[in-house]
């Protein structure tokens, strides 16, 4: 399968500081009476090699923001850049190729194809792109997530935590420009959740991976370098070097302000 030329995002060492950025990003659902503004002219920049958490109450637009940034959802107006590639310029096939080459995904649940083994799931994005797997990097990632002896298992034979770790390994295996994680610990107990978060943290520290994580859990947000707070489709605040307590207080403050 021959890939059409895809706009390449700049490599990690490029002078552009932002790995992902949005300018005037607006997303409107429905029309007339049912019109809902999910994102209201959002501007933001996700720093390369940073772990960014996006927080906000239900309905704040945090998932929509992530979907738009990751090229999974169309935008109403504004622009999203992955590296220097403007997403609104791409058609479906180009967008798909961009996703498989430059973006890694970890979803809240149902991350894996049930008919494939853990190993096959991890290499799937490269397999469907027809690319060779970087064996050394694959081994490193597998070792980091601690799945060495589980590679031949099918998803149903893995625990929820193990499944999410396989998903993390898949997200990283193709050395993407950026990894998007949508509530990756939402379905996990706290210990399994911690393992997943530690892995994401280490991928940023040790391999300069850019990670964007949507969460509503202050403890999870505390693993990040920076937290963006969303409310009613707007970025209302941000916090560097967060701790769980400070994030929690911030969230409570929002709730008070809103009520």
């Amino acid at each position: 399968m021959s890939d059409a030329p895809v706009p390449q995002p700049p490599a990690d060492e490029s002078p552009v500081a932002a790995a992902v950025s949005a300018q005037g990003l607006t997303k409107i659902y429905g029309e007339g009476d049912t019109r809902v503004v999910a994102l209201d002219a959002v501007d933001c920049e996700i720093g390369a090699g940073q772990f960014t958490a996006v927080m906000g109450p239900s309905g704040s637009g945090k998932s929509t923001l992530m979907h738009c940034l990751a090229g999974l959802d169309s935008i109403t107006s504004g622009e999203v850049y992955i590296g220097n590639v403007a997403l609104s310029q791409l058609n479906d096939a180009q967008l798909t190729r961009l996703r498989r080459q430059s973006i890694g995904f970890v979803f809240q649940a149902f991350n894996l194809i049930p008919t494939l083994t853990a190993r096959e799931n991890i290499t799937l994005p490269m397999d469907i792109a027809g690319k060779k797997v970087d064996q050394e990097w694959f081994d490193t990632v597998v070792q980091k997530v601690g799945l060495g002896d589980r590679l031949t298992h099918k998803p149903t034979e893995l625990s929820g935590g193990q499944q999410q770790r396989v998903a993390c390994a898949r997200a990283l295996a193709s050395r993407p420009h950026v990894v998007f994680a949508d509530e990756p610990t939402g379905n996990l107990d706290s210990r399994s959740g911690a393992e997943v978060l530690e892995f994401l943290r280490r991928s940023v520290d040790e391999y300069d991976q850019t990670v964007v994580m949507v969460t509503h859990d202050p403890v999870a947000a505390a693993y990040a370098d920076r937290v963006l707070f969303l409310a009613d489709g707007l970025i209302v605040d941000e916090m560097a070097e967060p701790t769980a307590d400070r994030v929690l207080q911030r969230m409570i403050a929002f709730e008070v302000a809103r009520s």
Partner: protein, 845 residues
């Protein structure tokens, strides 16, 4: 419960349409078959409703071979002096002669019969009395004399003529052929298909059809106060009962109807077998679809159970749903079936098997069977999986990741093995028993073999798919293989539907090729003549003057002709041929096992070995045989192996005449080329002579072979057209399975797209799955078909089907067709899958 059921139905329009379609198609085929055959029978009944006369007098046909509307043997004749004798009998009001003979061919511009090569060209005498005549005058006036004819309306349509126009007609006797005749009348004779009818006045009919002074029947009207049966008895008493017989008109029309119904009886059986196949395959599709639907709803069912619904309520809910659906679908099926009946009629016309079709009959039985099939199958198909689903404890089902309870396959394995053991037993019986019961055993075994294979396909599916998946490298191919293997039961059921159709087609082609190969071989071995002249396919006799004309042609070496009649002994009917024993053996290589052909003579004949064995005749025995003209004692002087068309008795010309062969008419002429003669020149010269005999053709070896091949192919195409419906239903089954599996896998497909799967890749994955399903079904079908095709041939080996031929290329085409069918079936599901909205798909529950 009804409300929940209707809501459930409407909530999933796609499923609704597919299931509806499955039931509708199945029911429609049953209805189509019934309506078609009922209408045919009713048309026939109406045809023979009118009695030809109060009493009919005709020559005694001891062998009972006289064809009513178009039998093979020409009707026997008697002198027309009989008319006068009959007229003098008490109670007879009027007696007129009637002629009814095959061989009056209405010609088109190419000098071929306007009815097509397979039609029977009837020539009959015009009956002046319109009250008793079977022909109703539509336009014009009665034909008179040597230049006028009437045509039946269908024939007139085919010849594209009306009253006042002229037509060219070739007749059996006066072959100053292609004589122009003026059409003075168009009549309705009720025989619309398969025959052409020309009517002459009586003297002309005698002159051109049977010979001057001869007639086939005397039609009698009884005087007031006499009953037909009394008059018939009186006539019988006054005539030589060995030669002539009088029957009432009622008896005559009953006899004719019986003959036609007998000859079409196979058709009803044949069509019903196809209807059964179609019902079986649709039952499969319906069953499969419902299993999937109910399995999908396991969680929903569990939730209902958890909030307090009883098992009984769940079951009755599903059954109500199935009932609603099946009633609607069966009704649609009945409507579609009526359309299909007309389609079948057109199909028969297309293949030259024209049938009377004046009537339309939708019997109450048809409607009852249609609803019974549609409703019973659907409800059973719904109840079984619903029962399975509701048996699961509610909490377990709710917890399960939408995985339906997996019933163990062990029982199925045993069922499959047991069925196959029976199938093998029947094969053993089939191969060790005699031919007649042997074939029946093999047929029974085929039914069990197919059912057993259906039971075993889930076990074949995984290994077969692994092998088939080998060429598909890359992630997409691997995913497709894995997906197909996911539910062996479903894959098996879907492929099985296709398998049934393909296996039947494969049996047919193996059988047909073996038949053709056997015939070819027989021709190679036994056929010594260079040319055969005759009028296939029915070999109606022609004027023997032809022989003298071709015999004199330059370049013709040895030549001879044959004449034929029919005889019976007990249950068996066989031909009797008159041959010239000094020349004939060089034309046909008779393998004489005992005695000598040269010994045949007056009431001395050679008999084929099969017939001799059946009746215990040996050389020197006297065989007591009933010929058309009566019984005779025939001395058996030789035994020969049946060869090509030659079976039965071979004797000299005088004797065969005695046995009822028409005087002065030959059945075939055989020619050999003189040394050094130019075959093409001879052929051209013979053809020039044949210009005056349009019914007679010239064929060499290759053409005879091609002719046999053509006839077999025509039959095959016809069978394929019927089996095509089963294949269509099977393809629909693949569509159904794939669509449902796409719906089930929505999240997975969304994920695949999110992490970088292109639309085209998703599409390709689904197409590959369908392709494997199609090929899998086709391969099992072909394998099964070849096995039973070979067994059929083996069991018929003693019956003369000596050569086995397996048409490898055709079978490979079947497998490729399976792949194509699969890919066609994938179009809709693949498009649906590739157009899924990623975000919605991922967040689907």
């Amino acid at each position: 419960m009804i409300r929940t059921a209707t809501r459930n139905l409407l909530a999933h329009k796609l499923r609704l349409v597919l299931t509806l379609l499955a039931i509708t198609l199945g029911v429609s085929f049953v209805v189509g078959t019934y309506v078609f055959t009922d209408s045919l029978n009713k048309s026939l009944a109406q045809l023979f409703d009118t009695e030809p006369a109060d009493v009919v007098v005709q020559p005694v046909d001891s062998a009972e071979t006289s064809g009513g509307g178009g039998g093979q043997a020409p009707a026997l004749t008697m002198p027309d002096s009989i008319i006068k004798q009959v007229a003098e009998v008490n109670g007879v009001s009027s007696a007129i002669g009637s002629v009814n003979q095959v061989g009056a061919i209405v010609l088109n511009d190419e000098d071929e019969s306007v009815g097509g090569p397979n039609s029977t060209p009837l020539g009959v005498s015009w009956e002046p009395n319109q009250d008793t005549s079977q022909a109703t005058l539509l336009a014009g006036s009665a034909p008179k004399g040597n230049d006028q004819v009437a045509l039946d309306s269908t024939t007139a349509d085919k010849a594209n003529v009306s009253v006042g126009d002229t037509v060219r007609i070739s007749t059996p006797l006066k072959t100053d052929a292609k004589k122009e005749w003026q059409v003075t009348a168009v009549v309705d004779i009720g025989l619309s298909g398969g025959v052409t009818v020309v009517l002459f006045d009586l003297p002309t009919a005698q002159k051109y059809l049977v010979g001057e002074g001869l007639i086939n029947q005397v039609l009698v009207t009884v005087s007031d106060g006499s009953t037909p049966s009394d008059v018939a008895t009186a006539i019988n008493n006054s005539l030589d009962s060995n030669k002539y017989t009088a029957i009432t008109g009622q008896e005559a029309s009953d006899q004719q109807e019986q003959q036609i119904t007998d000859s079409l009886g196979f058709l009803n059986t044949f069509l019903l077998i196809f209807a059964l196949v179609a019902v079986f395959v649709s039952a499969f599709l319906i069953f499969n679809t419902f299993s999937m639907l109910v399995a999908q709803r396991t969680r929903e069912i569990a939730l209902m159970r958890a909030v307090g619904a009883s098992r009984r309520q769940i079951q009755s809910g599903v059954v109500t749903e199935a009932l609603l659906l099946s009633v609607v679908a069966s009704t649609l099926g009945i409507l579609l079936g009526i359309g299909l009946a007309f389609g079948l009629r057109a199909l028969f016309d297309l293949f030259g098997l024209q049938l009377p079709s004046s009537q339309f009959e939708l019997a109450p039985r048809t409607i009852i069977v249609a609803y019974a099939v549609g409703i019973v199958v659907t409800v059973a198909a719904a109840w079984i999986p619903a029962n399975r689903a509701s048996a699961v404890p509610p909490i377990a089902a709710l917890r399960a990741e939408s995985s339906p309870p997996k019933a163990t396959l062990t029982r199925r394995l045993w069922l499959g093995v047991a069925t196959w053991v029976l199938a093998l037993l029947f094969i053993y019986l089939g191969l060790t028993n005699g031919t007649e019961t042997g074939v029946a055993w093999i047929g029974l075994s085929a039914v069990f073999g197919i059912i057993g294979t259906i039971a075993l396909t889930p076990f074949l599916a995984a290994p077969a798919l692994s092998v088939m998946g080998l060429p598909f490298r890359g992630a997409v191919g691997r995913l497709a293989v894995q997906n197909s293997k996911r539910s062996p039961r479903r894959t098996a059921a879907t492929a099985s539907a296709l398998m049934i159709g393909v296996s039947l087609m494969s049996i047919m082609v193996v059988f047909a090729s073996s038949f053709t190969a056997t015939a070819d071989q027989a021709i190679d071995e036994a056929y010594g003549a260079d040319f055969t002249l005759g009028s296939p396919p029915q070999y109606q006799p022609f004027d023997s003057a032809l022989y003298g004309q071709v015999n004199g042609i330059d370049g013709v070496g040895e030549s001879t002709f044959i004449r034929a009649t029919t005889g019976t002994k007990g249950q068996s009917t066989f031909p009797g041929y008159g041959i010239d024993p000094s020349v004939m053996p060089s034309m046909i290589n008779f393998e004489v096992t005992e005695g000598s052909l040269a010994a045949i003579g007056p009431q001395k004949a050679a008999v084929d070995t099969d017939l001799a064995e059946t009746n215990g005749w040996k050389v020197g025995d006297k065989a007591n045989v009933t010929w058309r003209t009566g019984q005779s004692e025939v001395e058996v002087v030789a035994l020969y192996e049946p060869v090509l068309v030659f079976t039965g008795f071979l004797t000299d010309f005088a004797t065969v005449r005695d046995w009822g062969a028409p005087a002065g008419q030959d059945t075939a002429i055989y020619l050999k080329l003189a040394e050094g003669a130019d075959a093409e020149q001879v052929r051209t010269d013979v053809k020039t002579v044949l210009d005056k005999y349009p019914a007679v053709g010239i064929q060499d070896q290759a053409q005879i072979k091609a002719d046999i091949q053509d006839q077999i192919n025509q039959l095959l195409r016809f069978i394929f057209a019927l089996l095509g419906l089963a294949i269509i239903i099977a393809v629909l089954g693949i569509v159904n399975t794939l669509l449902l599996s796409v719906v089930e896998r929505t999240r997975e497909l969304g994920l695949l797209r999110a992490i970088g799967g292109l639309r085209s890749q998703v599409r390709r994955m689904i197409v590959l799955e369908a392709l494997m399903l199609g090929v899998f079904g086709a391969i099992i079908g072909v394998v099964l078909g070849v096995i039973y095709g070979v067994l059929m041939q083996r069991s018929l080996e003693t019956e003369g089907l000596t050569t086995l031929a397996i048409p490898v290329i055709t079978l490979i085409v079947f497998i490729i067709a399976g792949a194509v069918a699969g890919m066609l079936a994938a179009i809709w599901p693949a498009t649906t899958a590739s157009r899924l909205n990623i975000l919605k798909a991922i967040s689907t529950e």
